[in-house]
Subunit: 476 residues, 2 copies
């Protein structure tokens, strides 16, 4: 099929208004962090699963590659077309319906284009919690969350997007529809195709809908802030909190002193508790969240008894429980302001790593020292979801000098040093952001060749033409 | 390679003492429920991952099929050889080490042959809970639990074997070793090979070790027993318990009156609470478990306030919280005695189905009536893990007449009726027992052809020679 013939046929399938070829397509062609820009043959916006299937069939017949796209907020450049102008972007944005809430089954079935925040609000209106929560929630979509196995701040208790998903509807590379939108919590009938699709970043199939878990709203959600004397103490505190609060512990975020100093410098209106009480201040801070099914009073008593015990055992230097919702929001706001504060400070090199929690203190001690030794003037912005072993172990350009030149000259070396350390300590170089096109080479370097071989065999088996998001996850 | 040459080479690889070809091999060749008996070419008992890999390579070179075997306690005839005498049984029983407990990371790494109960006890000794729990725990192995994605009584809170698994070590069909025994809670580096292997019943790779989640031991675990007026009320009570206890609700088992009447008939020493208070008694009973991270006192207060509220709202007719551990054990013992009571009563047809919780009352009402209408004298032994939507919806042969003849004449028809109803109500015909060889035809009938096509493509991609547990899950 010729290109004009394909475009005509796409117009016939989804309506001319939903096949974009002219005008400003930046929103579809550029990634969220503006690190890359591609060129689409066309942007197709199907309005139903049947339309998705028919578009895939038409593209497969023409040998044209498809780049599935949700909110296009990914951090690994996985949802924009390459520069060739030969790839079709398939935006799922029009498929945004919440199909069904099943209250007694604690499930919701939504289409892939549903924005995460819309789903959160829909669930809340029905009296439930949909716990997936992350910075891009106002724009990202459920389809993208599942395709990248999104993480965020509630993983400690509720798991990644993967753990929240019970069933999927998927259009295969052949344009067939697999209706697996089951709301079952147990189903041992064959291979786990659901989890194979989750996190495959649109390279094995196109997620068009999903059945997801809901939870009862907790009766109370309290936030605390603690200063700790070392990373070891933070890990100790985590263990105590897990024993003391059980599944009530829904958040455990760690922040290094330098990360918070950037917040204080660039957002002086935010008051960071215990930031300047003792000499140069505490090296690390922890934000804890306790969700309670009983009452706020009970949550507070449990939180206070945990913090007292932690104080007694010496792993907490100082701590406070937020008195009210606005104080709690302010504490979370400090944590969430770190990426922006980093940006205000200037250029930086980001890492999204995970490690066994037990090995994080040694990893940080050794890697901090290694970077300080190897890279002059390096400044570490270390923060993250300690409860999940997930650190955003970022490297800020030196305070003095040309930050652009620093990144140009040092980014590769910094990444090599950090990822080698991650591998040495049994960690992952991509905890929650995925591979996209940014980390395809890193995956080839660090993944076991046996695992890579299985991945390639699966890709060839399910997408033999290589038309689904080629060059993402695996090299094309 | 000739057969004698293969046997010689296996002896050279694992030691002659660990290649069994003579004597009584019943334990390896017959399934747990004695429904089938095969004939092995040899039983090989490797002692290390390297030996597993070398055995697979030797078998692959000889074109000989391998049947991986753990405790051989599966219920779907998936771990014994076929009758041909040409398949090698690979028993993982010698690989039973607990490799490492990582307390701060809340993980344990064990070899595949470790018996579940040994792992539970090892975890408990270290102060942790490994929550997977099921009837065969004294004999079944972790490798088998993962290969079949075992369920059991704690799934409501802790998930199936799948959810408890963070990483796997697997020997591929080519005899390569994939070391994926990571203890990471977040790792988005490529396709989810772990979950593809979990539940694949040894047809895609041989699990040799796993890294699993541990949990802090709860401070208290209490059990309650409630009589309810209908299945609808049981579902209502489940919702109330989920809201009231949150993640504290660790068990929610439902039992029909007839199931309990069999327990009372065949185990008269067991006292079933509220069984004969009102006329013919209550139609359904519920066993609830509440695990509390605070204290027994707190657990009891929460449990009592839940049951009071449920009584007020009318969904509970009567309820009692066990006063002490021995009462709690007795309540669980009643629940766990149902399968044995069924066996004492005579032959029966077992189903392991799951449904959306919301649809269970309608499913039961309609299917109970359908079976009563279609199959004369049918008696339903209905019980299961209602919290997971998982019912053991079993059909006991009529009280009068020849039970053997009933099964011979009616089993196929009963299964057809039940599975058609399951499909109509959006359920699964195998919730936790898997496919094995028993349900291969049922899978072909009820699974979506698109899903089956993907499964076959994956099987061919990872095991192109078709040597790993052939004829299980998918037809050979």
């Amino acid at each position: 099929m010729t290109t004009p013939a394909l475009i005509d046929s796409l117009r016939a399938l989804v309506g001319a208004a939903h096949v974009l070829t002219d005008g400003d397509l930046t929103a579809y062609e550029q990634d969220w962090r503006k690190r890359a820009r591609g060129k689409a043959l066309a942007v197709v916006r199907p309005g139903s699963t049947a339309e998705v299937a028919s578009v895939v069939k038409a593209c497969a017949a023409a040998g044209t590659a498809i780049v599935p796209q949700g909110g296009n907020t990914g951090l690994a450049v996985g949802s924009i077309p390459d520069a060739s102008g030969s790839q079709v972007v398939m935006s799922l944005a029009r498929m945004a319906a919440v199909r069904e809430i099943d209250a007694a089954n604690l499930t919701v079935t939504v289409e892939a284009g549903c924005v995460l925040q819309v789903l959160q609000e829909t669930a809340a209106k029905a009296g439930f919690l949909f716990p997936l929560s992350l910075a891009a929630e106002g724009s990202c979509t459920i389809g993208g969350n599942l395709a990248t196995n999104a993480g965020g701040t509630q993983v400690l208790r509720y798991g990644n997007a993967r753990e929240l998903c019970l069933g999927l509807e998927v259009v295969t590379a052949q344009g067939e529809v697999w209706d697996g939108t089951s709301g079952l919590r147990k189903d041992n009938t064959g291979y786990d195709l659901r989890d194979l699709m989750v996190g495959s970043e649109g390279t094995l199939g196109i997620i068009t809908a999903a059945t997801l878990k809901l939870f009862p709203q907790p009766a109370a959600r309290l936030t605390a802030w603690a200063a700790v004397g070392s990373f070891d103490d933070a890990v100790q505190l985590l263990g105590q909190a897990q024993r003391h609060l059980g599944a009530g512990l829904t958040g455990f975020e760690v922040m290094g002193q330098f990360a918070l100093s950037l917040v204080r410098r660039h957002m002086p209106q935010l008051r960071v508790p215990f930031a300047d009480e003792v000499g140069d201040g505490h090296p690390y801070f922890v934000l804890l969240e306790n969700s309670d099914s009983e009452s706020e009073e009970h949550a507070r008593a449990r939180f206070e008894s945990l913090l007292e015990a932690a104080f007694e055992s010496g792993c907490v230097a100082d701590a406070v429980v937020a008195e009210n919702l606005s104080q709690a929001h302010e504490l979370w706001h400090i944590r969430e302001s770190i990426p922006l504060a980093q940006a205000e400070e200037g250029l930086n090199i980001k890492h999204d790593i995970s490690l066994p929690v037990s090995r994080i203190p040694a990893f940080c001690a050794e890697t901090d020292a290694l970077l300080a030794r190897e890279i002059a003037g390096v400044r570490l912005v270390n923060f993250g979801h300690l409860g999940d072993g997930n650190l955003h172990y970022n490297v800020q350009a030196p305070a003095e000098g040309d930050a652009k030149a620093f990144l140009r000259d040092q980014e590769k070396r910094v990444n090599e040093l950090v990822y080698a350390q991650v591998q040495k300590f049994g960690g992952s170089f991509s905890a929650e952001h995925g591979i996209g096109s940014l980390k395809v080479q890193t995956l080839e370097q660090h993944k076991s060749p046996v695992a890579l071989g299985m991945m390639r065999a699966i890709k060839s088996a399910l997408d033999p033409q290589g038309l689904l998001n080629p060059g993402r996850v695996l090299a094309a």
